[in-house]
Amino acid sequence: MPFGHRHPLTLIREQVESIFGAMGFEILQGPQVEDDYHNFEALNMPPDHPARDMQDTFYLDQPMPGGGTLQSTRPATLLRTHTSGMQIRYMESHKPPVRIIAPGLVYRRDTPDLTHSPMFLQVEGLLVGSGITMGDLKGTLVTFLKTFFDAKTQVMFRPSFFPYTEPSAEVFIDCAFCEGGCAVCKQTGWLEILGCGMVHPAVFEAVGYDPEHYTGWAFGLGIDRVALLKHRVEDIRLFYDNDLRLLEQFPH
């Protein structure tokens, strides 16, 4: 019997985990059903915040026991839209310094198409300590992207908005598909690869960290998107068909 194959998203996730693991990040896993507090409120997204529209959410009809295999006093009411809830849980129970990544499946009510799936795999990172700067954010992410893709990869940081970071940035890498413009990069020569920023002081306040004393940064990376780009898969939905003709192209 020939060997079976690990899922391509698992391969990418494990590569990301290895790179950050080598940079001293602890790898965490958290529940996929979350409560509103850990998914939104503690992340500076109070009820009725317009930014909630950025992450269209699946809600449960009735609350269910929350926390997964962790203890939680709050019943879960929704499917997490990002793995940030795990960062909140970790900070609630640990003093700085913090250096973690949290990979896992997340859910958004997006209509499926070539690049959108209502369920996808994300990895988020968080680093908190004394004297952590946006320069550190840049240095770490540039190191990661050059290790993951290619030492020649060009990286660009651009201002953006997320409620849980201030300042916020979007990170782009030079398009591997073309020289100067193609359909994949929408003729810009750049591919958006992740979102990041300096942790918003309101998030620190929610978990009882003193924002005067500690600074930190966070990022979120879509594993599916990276897999599409790295392996040139044309449709994100192929990852969830589990077609052996795709799976068997990847190493064991």
């Binding site: 194959h5 899922h7 693991g21 001293g24 009809d61 269910m64 320069g135 201002p159 908005f161 940035a169």
Partner: protein, 693 residues
């Protein structure tokens, strides 16, 4: 947000030629306003070539949902002054009496500005139409067009009512009453409720505040006098109303993000100036400004050292002051502070700025993220190893891929019908409130349905030999979200090859894989007959893990019931074998407390037995019967052959068992091995009526 470059140029001298608009687009993009496209526009006589910028405005920047807001950013980018024309409140004769305005709910409407104008309604001039169309707003008539123009220019939504259609010359801003309804401008009759703020006349609703006007007081060609409205509405109230009635408009989009509470008077004055300029109005009323509780300006402290602390780069003081000032902030240096501390007055249009970090972002955006030096954060604490789940999942993947299984990832939402087929407790099924489709409405209580779907997908693509597994969460009301493993296998167990005969997968292949898997964790499994609706009776077993003298339930295995398989859409007749295990009992690290025993130095003796025995007897029971009299010298029991058919009684099975004996301290004699074998045979005969063959 789509705006014409020529409109921007009215407010700010852009030092970029009309052939280099791409430069402007790049500059805006790099300070946080992504320009999706630059569309060239044909030049109007005597004007340079124009272009439309399609800007993406993030939710925190409602002030940039207008030309003026973008102009301020452009001013900061190029270090040029923004020109805001002076406006007078009176643009006409002031012949009309002011309109009466009452705010009944100042929490939901802190400010309301209303004014009357006599108008001549007709089409707008070409330049006005051109600017609206560039923004993809449909021109309607000069009055409505002017209100939209002001919205695009200042970012502040406006509305115009036909005064003659109002009952009584008055405006009441109040919550709707139960039973009231309104036909909005889109022609839809909408029921109202007290959570919804409305603009009413003396009697009835005339607009859903901040969302859409009513058809009754719509401005038409017969309109002679209009009420111009510019107000500030509570963002949360507008957002809730917009969601409640399922209507998002250009106005609600802006109000729910936060309008400028100081803009309404300016908006009305600008609208009247425009109406006068296009010759639509000659007389108007004084402006009525209801603003019961003006708020003190927001002042935020900014410490120069904190900028470097957060960004990792010291930024020149004069640069900080210049950028903030150009963006409309008023920084004032605290006397005697070095490095300086500024008290920064935040303009009312910057609803997103309330803390020091917000101001630092303003500085960083315009300084340029790309100019911040990349550094690597010092490690002050060693990393903790990942939780035991990670080793566990990696080991499961290692063993199963080694056994020929490929990894699947399937959706967490499945059909209720399917969920109930594998998990019959209806109370335990977690339902989604807002599923994506009418089909997949519940969270999976089991991983099997998803895996069967993947099996179907592959079989439909002419794949017969399939082995898949998935590691994932399952969801139940009773025990919440738990990690599980599911396996499915079908087709050939030994693929076609010249080296030997092909063989179809059977139940023993599956139990073999599970034994391998648990062996990987240094644990032993025990199988006991069981039943489940979706599995074939007699080919279903409960899987338990032996930990010391205790057993822990691990899951279930068996042959998939063909009826269930068919109902799921599985075609083909080859048997499908599946298992689903709880992964939690496997989380403790394998071999963590293992103490090695010395490698045996003594030779062993083997004896083969052939017995005929009841086929229903569980293998584990037979093994226990063998082990008890075997004593400590019996080191291994292996079933090496199994036969049913000719020569064997119906309901019986012939088993060949290989026994291995060894003593740790001496060479065992044949006589000792034979004596143990005889005792084992007697026990089998006595306990199970076995027949020695």
């Amino acid at each position: 947000m789509r705006i014409l470059v020529s409109w921007l140029r009215e407010f700010v001298p852009i030092p970029v030629g009309s052939n280099d608009i791409g430069e402007l687009a790049d500059a805006l993009t790099m300070c946080g306003f992504e320009v999706g496209s630059v569309e060239p526009r044909p030049a109007i006589a005597g004007e340079p070539t124009d272009a439309v910028l399609d800007l993406e405005i993030t939710t925190n920047r409602p002030d940039c949902l207008g030309v003026l807001g973008i102009a301020r950013e452009v001013g900061a980018i190029y270090g040029v002054d923004v020109r805001i024309p002076e406006l007078t409140q009176a643009s006409g004769s002031q012949a009309l009496d002011p309109i009466a305005v009452t705010i009944e709910d100042p929490d939901l409407c802190p400010r309301y500005v209303g004014a009357l104008s006599d108008v001549e309604v007709g089409p707008s001039p070409a330049w006005l139409v051109e600017r609206l169309e560039a923004a993809e707003i449909r021109p309607i008539n000069n009055v409505v067009d002017v209100t939209n123009y002001v919205m695009l220019e200042l970012g502040h939504p406006m509305h115009a009512f036909d005064l003659d259609r109002l009952n009584g010359r008055e405006i009441r801003v109040r919550r709707a009453r139960t039973g009231e309804s309104i036909r909005t401008l889109d022609g839809v009759r909408r029921p109202l409720e007290p959570e919804i703020l409305i603009i009413a006349d003396a009697e009835q609703p005339q607009a859903v505040a901040g969302v859409m006007g009513g058809g009754n007081s719509e401005v038409s060609t017969t309109t002679r006098t209009i009420v111009l409205e510019a107000a500030y509405f509570d963002p949360i109230s507008i957002r809730r109303t917009s969601k409640r009635i399922g209507l998002t408009t250009d106005a609600s989009y802006r109000f729910e993000r936060g309008a400028d509470i100081d803009a309404p008077v300016r908006a009305v004055a600008r609208a009247r100036q425009l109406l006068a300029a296009i010759g639509s109005t000659k007389s108007d009323s004084p402006i009525v400004d209801q603003f019961p509780k003006p708020a003190a300006p927001v002042i935020v402290q900014l410490r120069h050292h904190r900028i470097g602390h957060l960004l990792g780069q010291v930024i020149d003081e004069t640069f900080v002051i210049s950028i903030l000032t150009r963006l409309g902030f008023a920084p004032r240096t605290e006397p005697g502070t070095a490095p300086p501390i500024w008290k920064v007055t935040v303009p009312t249009f910057r609803v997103d700025v309330s803390r020091e970090e917000d101001l630092i972002e303003e500085v960083a955006r315009h300084y340029g993220y790309d100019r911040l030096p990349p550094t690597f954060p010092a490690l002050t604490l060693p990393a903790s190893p990942a939780g035991p789940w990670r080793d566990r999942d990696q080991l499961v993947r290692r063993v199963l891929t080694g056994c020929g299984f490929s990894e699947a990832i399937t959706y967490a939402f499945i059909e209720r019908r399917t969920a109930l087929a594998v998990h019959t407790d209806e109370q335990d099924i977690v339902t989604l409130k807002n599923p994506m489709s009418e089909k997949d409405t519940v969270l999976r209580p089991s991983l099997l349905p998803g895996l069967v779907d993947s099996l179907i997908h592959n079989r439909r693509r002419e794949r017969q030999d399939i082995r898949l597994f998935e590691i994932g969460s399952r969801f139940r009301y009773s025990d919440g979200e738990t990690p599980a493993l599911a396996l499915a296998m079908t087709g050939a167990s030994i693929p076609q090859h010249w080296s030997g005969p092909e063989r179809e997968t059977d139940l023993f292949d599956l139990t073999g894989v599970l034994t391998q898997l648990c062996d990987g964790f240094g644990k032993e499994i025990i199988l006991e007959p069981d039943t489940a609706d979706h599995l074939v009776p007699g080919r279903t077993a409960k899987v338990q893990l032996k930990i010391g003298d205790r057993t822990t339930a691990l899951g279930i295995l068996g042959q998939l019931d063909p009826e269930f398989a068919n109902a799921q859409g599985l075609t083909g007749s080859a048997a499908v074998f599946v298992a689903e295990l709880d992964l939690q009992p496997l989380t403790t690290a394998a071999g963590h407390h293992l103490q090695a025993t010395p490698v045996p130095r003594q030779p062993s003796i083997t004896r083969d037995l052939s017995i005929e025995i009841d086929e229903a007897l569980p293998a584990a029971q037979v093994r226990d019967t063998i082990r008890a009299p075997g004593g400590p010298t019996l080191v291994s029991v292996k079933e090496i052959d199994r036969y049913q058919g000719q020569g064997i009684a119906a309901g019986a099975v012939s088993l060949s068992i290989r026994l291995t004996f060894r003593a740790p301290d001496r060479t065992l004699t044949d006589a000792e091995a034979q004596s143990s074998t005889d005792e084992i045979v007697s026990a089998l005969v006595l306990d199970h009526r076995a027949k020695l063959r």
